[in-house]
């Protein structure tokens, strides 16, 4: 018999996802991958919300997760749009080459 999946399991998975996403954002140069990492972070948060919703027996967390997904979609659309515009001008998708906004 498999051990029961408790809230703790979810939280560990969520923390792992958060860590992977954060490292991805900080370490990868490709903006596309950075955006995918951001999705990981968001989904880590979602998992967290749903887990606590189940643990506390309320629906608030699940509803919030739906909102996060919606916002994430919008963010992805706008982010990809910006990315395409950026690529047309700079012909690059590498974050460390996009550095003109400085002192």
């Amino acid at each position: 018999m498999l051990p029961t999946i408790t809230t703790t399991h979810y939280l560990v998975l969520s923390a792992a996802l958060l860590l992977i996403g954060t490292l991805g954002v900080l370490l990868r140069r490709n903006v596309v991958v950075i955006m995918m990492s951001i999705e990981l972070i968001l989904n880590a948060v979602n998992l967290n919300l749903v887990a606590f919703s189940e643990h506390l027996k309320t629906l608030n967390g699940q509803v919030f997760a739906i909102f996060v997904i919606t916002v994430a979609v919008a963010e992805a659309a706008v982010g990809l749009g910006i990315l395409i515009a950026l690529f047309r001008n700079k012909e690059t998708v590498l974050a460390d080459e996009i550095d003109i906004l400085k002192w």
Binding site: I34, A95, I98, D99
Partner: protein, 668 residues
């Protein structure tokens, strides 16, 4: 048929003709135009005659027809007034006008712009009838301006001739000067009597509110301003200069507008305002004096003019002077009577002259005429009658009216001896210059070249028949106003009685005291007849008996008279070159000095201010902004290098910051 209520149709029929001509005339054949236009005036004449006949049957000889309200605030209507005075005028305008229209059919046959000519002529008749039929000064002014316009158009009919265009402009401008006086007079009149309707104005002025003005006051000023209007339209000193030049127009125009009708508008206006003028003896004296001086002055110029139409033009000015002389001494009915008779013989003289010019192939210089008596007999005979009439030979129209004027200058309480003397001298001069014209034109040997001589011909029937009708009028018209001393039946001095309701008796002296001095009247009559015969005799002696070389030249006076007393030159000097040109120069100097100076000064000031402003902008405003920028830059010196533009280093700082905060809570 009630003609009295149809008097509004009298001016309207010619207006219809004019509209037809000016809108569609170009496409109509001449034969149709020749029926419509004279026909329209003919219809007007019949309507006028019917209305006047019915007016005679009324006890109170005034009839007004209102079409519609025009200026409600000033109580001015589009309305017509038929009374004895306007009835005389409309009969003259439509009667003589009709004959001249018929005459024009022949005269203008070979000319271009046939429809245009008749259109203008009908338009003129419309405005002239509005002038004399209008029931208020405002209506009169409408006609007044309208006839001025038509006069301008017709003087400049041959518009490709520069002199014709100039003459038209001169007429228009001289008239405008007078019109300004008329307008001001009208304003004053409205101010004084609170109305512009003749009936109301005369009633107000006749009331006890107004007495005779013995010193020169508001009423005198009003009358004088109206008279200034009259001097413009009726060619009196100082505004007469346009009329002789107006002879540039076709001859029928000279006959209709510049002899028989329009130029008498001023006389009509003064007669219409008789109540006002009788209250102002000072202005009346001015009227009489201007009339007298104009009459002798113009007659003196007519003595020597070589151009047949110029002689007649100055003669017209002179005869108009007679009319004003009569009006000035309070004998308004005589002024209108002379207007009436003058319309016949002067129109006839002009049309006769037109016939002569026609025969001569356009030549107007009498020195190149002569001996036309047998070549154009009808013209000669009719002009002979007219010349007798204007010279004042007993039995013809001019004698009765002119003699009455001279008698009135003596008999009227407003009369004066110098007026009588000027009237008599002018009568002699009139006889001389008219018969000089006749002898030079019709008698002696022909002085024209062979080509012209071969083409001499009598004018067509349409031209000679009106001449004959007018000749009959020149004989008969005077018999309506024979002197009372003749002791004729009432009909033969019916003219005065007919007009009596219009002219109130002199307030100054009550009833006009007829100096029942028959002996003096007979004496003056004989003096004037003798002077007329003397004038004719002198003319006969000079121009028939003496050869050209033998004639006395008149010495130094001759060139002065030939150049019309240099009045045109004087006006050129004073007004054209002096006031207009000099004034123009003064204005130019003012313009370049003061106005341009102001503009340039403003520009300079603007540039100066903008320079200051620019300096302020560059150094103070921009300086402040830059100063702010420099301050921020200087203050941010070490910190700003943190902003590397590297996205991920920012993110790293986020994360480290977060971890630091979490770490803080963890440790605590």
């Amino acid at each position: 048929m009630n003609f009295l209520d149809l008097i509004w149709l009298i001016p309207l029929v010619p207006l219809f003709g004019a509209a037809l001509m000016l809108l569609f005339g170009r496409r109509l054949p001449n034969s149709v135009i020749s029926i419509i236009c004279p026909g329209a005036v003919g219809v007007s004449f019949l309507l006028s005659a019917g209305a006047v006949l019915q007016l005679a049957g009324l006890a109170h000889k005034v009839h007004e027809v209102t079409l519609f309200t025009w200026l409600p605030l000033m109580k001015v209507d589009m309305a017509f007034l038929l009374d004895p005075l306007s009835s005389v005028m409309i009969l003259v305008v439509t009667g003589v006008g009709f004959l001249i229209h018929v005459y024009s059919i022949g005269y203008m046959a070979g000319e271009g712009g046939y429809y245009r000519f008749f259109g203008y002529l009908n338009l003129f008749v419309f405005f002239m009838l509005t002038l004399v039929l209008g029931n208020s000064y405002a209506m009169m002014f409408v006609g007044w301006e309208g006839v001025g316009l038509c006069s301008y158009l017709l003087i400049g009919f041959y518009f490709n001739r520069k002199s014709a265009g100039d003459a038209g402009k001169k007429a228009f401008i001289a008239n405008r000067v007078g019109d300004a006086g008329f307008i001001l007079g009208m304003f004053f009149l409205y101010q004084i009597t609170d109305s512009l309707r003749f009936v109301d104005v005369n009633a107000a002025l006749s009331s006890a509110r107004f007495g005779v003005e013995h010193s020169f006051g508001l009423l005198s000023l009003t009358a004088l301003l109206l008279f200034i209007g009259a001097t413009g339209k009726s060619a009196q000193i100082p505004l007469y200069v346009w009329l002789p030049d107006a002879m540039e127009g076709p001859t029928p125009v000279s006959a209709l507008i510049h002899a028989a009708t329009m130029v008498t508008a001023g006389v009509y206006m003064v007669a219409r305002s008789n109540v006002l003028f009788q209250l102002t003896p000072d202005t009346s004296l001015i009227v009489a004096t201007v009339g007298a001086v104009t009459s002798i002055f113009a007659a003196s110029i007519a003595l020597v003019q070589p151009d047949i139409k110029k002689v007649l033009a100055y003669s017209t000015v002179s005869q108009l002077g007679y009319m004003f002389m009569a009006a000035g001494v309070g004998a308004y009915w005589v002024a209108i009577f002379h207007l009436f008779t003058h319309a016949f013989f002067k129109a006839l003289l002009f049309m006769g002259a037109g016939s002569v010019i026609h025969a001569m192939g356009g030549e107007q210089d009498m020195n190149k005429m002569g001996g036309l008596k047998d070549k154009i007999p009808t013209t000669f005979r009719t002009m002979f009658i007219a010349s007798l009439a204007i010279a004042g030979i007993p039995g013809l129209a001019g004698f009765f009216s002119k003699d009455e004027i001279i008698w009135q200058t003596h008999a009227s309480p407003l009369g004066a001896n110098f007026l009588t003397v000027i009237g008599l001298v002018t009568a002699a001069m009139t006889a001389f210059y008219m018969w000089r014209l006749m002898y030079l034109t019709f008698y002696g040997e022909g002085r024209m070249d062979e080509h012209t001589r071969a083409h001499l011909h009598e004018s067509p029937k349409t031209m000679t028949v009106p001449l004959i009708v007018l000749a009959a009028g020149s004989i008969l018209a005077g018999w309506l106003g024979t002197p009372k001393v003749f002791g004729m039946p009432e009909f033969f001095h019916g003219f005065e009685g007919w007009l009596a309701p219009v002219f109130v008796p002199l307030k100054a002296v009550g009833e006009v005291a007829e100096h029942a001095d028959h002996a003096t009247e007979w004496l003056m009559m004989f003096i004037s007849i003798a002077l007329a015969l003397g004038g004719i005799a002198v003319a006969y002696h000079m121009y028939v008996k003496l050869r050209r070389e033998q004639r006395p030249t008149g010495g130094a006076l001759y060139p002065v008279l030939l150049h019309k007393w240099y009045v045109d030159e004087l006006y050129d000097f004073l007004f054209i070159n002096g006031l207009s040109l000099g004034g123009g120069r003064a204005f130019a100097r003012f313009d370049s000095g003061v106005v341009d100076g102001g503009v340039n000064g403003t520009a300079w000031a603007t540039r100066f201010i903008s320079k200051v402003s620019m300096w302020w902008d560059t150094w103070i405003v921009d300086g402040l902004v830059n100063l702010g920028a420099y301050t921020v830059r200087a203050l941010s010196f070490p910190v700003r290098f943190v902003q590397s533009g590297m996205l991920q280093s920012y993110a790293l700082v986020f994360v480290l910051g977060l971890l630091a905060i979490f770490g803080y809570y963890w440790v605590r």
